[in-house]
Symmetry: C2
Subunit: 444 residues, 2 copies
Amino acid sequence: MAAERGRSGTRNVGVGIIGWGTIGCGVIRLLREDADRLAERLGARVELRGVADLDHDRRREVRVPRSLLTRDARALIADPAIDVVVELMGGLEPARRFVLEALAAGKAVVTANKALLAHHGREIFAAAERANVGFGFEASVGGGIPIIRTLREALGSDTHRAVFGIVNGTSNFILSTMAAEGRGFAEVLAEAQRAGLAEADPTYDVDGIDAAHKLALLAQLAFGVALPLDAVHAEGIRRIDAIDMEYAREFGFAIKLLALARDHGGEIEARVQPAMIPATDPLASVNGAFNAICLQSAALGRTLYYGQGAGMMPTATAVVADVLDVARDRMRGGPRLPPLGYPLAHQRRARVRPTGALSAEYYLRIAVRDVPGVLGAIAGHLGRAGVSIASVVQRAGRVGKGVPVVIRTHAAPEKDLRRALARVAALETVLEPPVAIRIENTSG
Amino acid sequence: MAAERGRSGTRNVGVGIIGWGTIGCGVIRLLREDADRLAERLGARVELRGVADLDHDRRREVRVPRSLLTRDARALIADPAIDVVVELMGGLEPARRFVLEALAAGKAVVTANKALLAHHGREIFAAAERANVGFGFEASVGGGIPIIRTLREALGSDTHRAVFGIVNGTSNFILSTMAAEGRGFAEVLAEAQRAGLAEADPTYDVDGIDAAHKLALLAQLAFGVALPLDAVHAEGIRRIDAIDMEYAREFGFAIKLLALARDHGGEIEARVQPAMIPATDPLASVNGAFNAICLQSAALGRTLYYGQGAGMMPTATAVVADVLDVARDRMRGGPRLPPLGYPLAHQRRARVRPTGALSAEYYLRIAVRDVPGVLGAIAGHLGRAGVSIASVVQRAGRVGKGVPVVIRTHAAPEKDLRRALARVAALETVLEPPVAIRIENTSG
């Protein structure tokens, strides 16, 4: 380790940051403002010794001396004064290469990059194990909520049955604003984009992709299984309408984009879907950009972890906690735990339970032309697929092109429901593909 | 370390348990049932090598071979095959002596004993630092909720402004049952006692003492200050009545036994009191024997940790997580962190903000004889003490000896309120000491 005797006689830890963006600014600010307290906790000073970014000129929230700036991430990785490389550039390449090179060079690495870990986690975790260096990724899920550490260490003594929750702040902000203000998806999305709460291309957030990345990581940590990203079923929230929020409330539910993974004795269910959850469920009152993650564990039962899921300072807090952690381990000879909390060699292959095989009650909203016989035709298709109807609501009022028919079903396998809905969608009197929202029983 | 080469070639870790009670049974069960998974996580087997208890004959949920049983805790502590001593006997003495002797003998120690740490924490933490051995106490606060680890490590990079929440499951069970069923304190307490949810002598739980013990620990961890137990103001829930629950609901509040510590720039406020919190606050929906702890931190903002606060398996989970942690550190030469996450030498002395100096709005319920002039006399005493009235409700119906007058005050210093209430209580027309419940602004 490139350790120096500082003026105080303690060894110091050199940090290099790749990616001088919002989170990078937060990390730099914490390293500066809390320097004394961090030194007290670690027994060594944490010193920023390099920042790599292609753009040195854009105005940022914090400044960095020219002498610490480089455009060459590889030079930063190779710098012997740098012990811990913090990857905050995002994206897959060249972030992947930089992380692997840093690990191969014997640096500890901290990252907030969930996409990178969802796509290339196995390769990166293996490289960290091989190099016997610390690898921290607390900031990749749940912003400042210490869920990764909790799964890796605090609850490493328990067996987890399920991990689920609200892990995408942007979509939760949109859904909770729609619910509170009775407005439509497109309008609230546009507002969120203007306010900087959603990206110009919101696909990752509103189509469940970001949540699927995070769920894949959580499931690997919780269940000790490999879970390739394509094993996570992802649906988004684009088709949710203000009227669905109204019906949800009337039925005693809230609509949330729920990420859920469950271990059915070795067969893993993993999906991101908008879901109706009981209004009394603690997750139902998680509003705005907040995140909350629940664990269902054998010994511990239900626990819940709640906080800001994103944002400069919450995420930076998690990054700096990881820097302290890998630095502490490094000063003592190496990581005390592999990245996932268990050796990758012990990771089991997951059999994936196809979502079609899962049974649930559903809320269906079907836009129809208001003519006699339409309800009978819909009910016929559902019945022939084995989906039985619990209740039907049809009221005055229009949504989009037609009149909404709202149906609650009894529990049915998703594949049967999908088959029925394909036929319903083909009816001449049905004007748009039906909206189907799973009614989630999170206590199961 | 007394380490052996097991059959698998890994080093093994010997555990000795003092106190073969409910939690002890849970720990033994986890060590047995999860032995392979724990070994995989730790890289060594965790072996139960001794159990000390005076009573070997009582029937318990799990059995222990005679060869492992002793009545002599000191023999267990002295046993070179035991690396980690788990103290689960509870109480102050001889638990304190056993813990100090184990630390002095170079053993790592894990305990669930919050009373011990609230009373003798400084001495014990200092002994653990001096001996350079691991000391785990996750199970002492919040059962299986990993709050101590979170404060010690995950959020060690942040500055905490406040820590508060529901940390006593028994009183929360009583209050939430009273609220849900409209029943009185004494009746629900008796039922909880019959169900084994409250002790025969419920003082520790219902008078706020257990919560004060936990709060003293949380404040030391969160703020880096010494906080003697007598600096924590503790009030209980005995005087809360079903009618208070009704009024709380009507005003949009829930009544909870709230433990709260706040760092006012070096001056610490620490108190356990029944409080009215907004029904929309996440803490308001924490019901039954569940616990929830909130942190308000500089960078991270609000986070919340929720789970079962007590019970055999949740508490045992926390104990076993600590055993893994101290064993892991031990295999690598010693603890990577002092017990509190920072060296005791860096602990600041707290100036304690007296509760009398704190301002709040209050809910008052005063049992009066229903005669003319009584409200005027009460209002006069409040007014002369500088406590102004926001609203008064007086309805038909009796509570105990009199008719209840319910008053909401504007914010006033507690000492002024107490002075006024002492005078109100002395009125001939006031039949019982007034009930005063702070209306808590947890967002502050």
